[in-house]
């Protein structure tokens, strides 16, 4: 830890802001059911390939209270944290901290984590509008401060950039 780092401990003060990712969908379901499937039922729809464990994911869990863990269970018996519950307001709102570094590892510091807010609004006629906002992406940095470990590690996940390049090439 250099003196310079102590003098500027908060990366969010200097990182340029990036526009949040915003999505809105409408589902043929009531608010309570939509909230329930998003949270308690997350294992039934979350893409199986998206986890940060070292072996295949068997289950993904969001604990139903503020301060709860978001984690996955892996085939090798390990548990892998990837977030935490910042706000728990069923059935209208949930906010999760996205604690995944660009090296696909758990981010221990909330100051370097982004946030996912999901709002559920009744629209009448059995419809619910779901608004998702994934914000404060700049807090992750460009991944460079953890890149050394990830890129250089044998059998590591590789950087987000690499993954993106591979996807774009398809």
């Amino acid at each position: 830890m250099t003196p310079e780092r102590i003098a500027h401990p908060d990366p969010t003060l200097s990182a340029p802001a990036i526009a949040p990712v915003r999505k809105t969908i409408r589902v043929h379901a009531d608010v309570a059911h939509a909230f329930d499937v998003f949270t308690a039922g997350i294992d039934r729809w979350w893409p199986r390939s998206h986890h940060i464990g070292q072996s295949p994911m068997t289950r993904i869990i969001v604990e139903p209270h503020a301060g709860g863990r978001c984690y996955s269970e892996q085939e090798d018996g390990t548990e892998c944290d990837w977030g935490s519950v910042l706000a728990w307001e069923p059935p209208h709102r949930v906010v999760l901290a996205w604690r995944i570094t660009s090296q696909w590892r758990f981010e221990p510091e909330l100051a370097r984590s982004s946030e996912v807010e999901v709002r559920f609004t009744p629209e009448g006629d059995g419809m619910t509008r779901v608004d998702l906002e994934h914000r404060h992406l700049e807090r992750h940095g460009p991944g460079a401060d953890r890149m050394r470990a990830g890129v250089d590690a044998p059998g590591g996940w590789g950087s987000l950039l690499e993954l993106f390049v591979a996807e774009a090439a398809r």
Partner: protein, 107 residues
């Protein structure tokens, strides 16, 4: 797009350039300030900054007589694009599951 992403990967494939980007996480800095914190010469830092700038990971601006280097928001676009596509796919799967399991009260 492909070329641009590859340029970023190449740029970050060098240990000194990764170190420069790490220093810039602490805030915008001049070449001199960066060189003082790295075990490489000032001209070498300038050279590396040029590569990072070409890859759009770093931007620069004049401040008095010197140039100040900062992380370029464009360098974050990869993360944003990835999450943008991730949520499209995840929410489509969520919608399908919600509607498949919604109890039918009416009709």
């Amino acid at each position: 797009m492909q070329t641009y992403q590859s340029a970023q990967l190449d740029a970050l494939g060098d240990a000194t350039r990764r170190a420069i980007v790490e220093r810039l996480l602490d805030g915008p800095q001049s070449v001199g300030a960066l060189a003082r914190r790295l075990p490489v010469s000032r001209p070498a830092v300038s050279q590396h900054l040029r590569v990072l700038k070409q890859a759009r990971l770093v931007s620069d601006a004049a401040a008095g007589t010197q140039r100040i280097y900062a992380l370029d928001p464009a360098g974050f676009e990869t993360l944003r694009s990835y999450l943008d596509r991730f949520w499209d796919g995840a929410l489509a799967a969520f919608q399908q599951e919600v509607e498949r399991t919604q109890p039918r009260k009416r009709r």
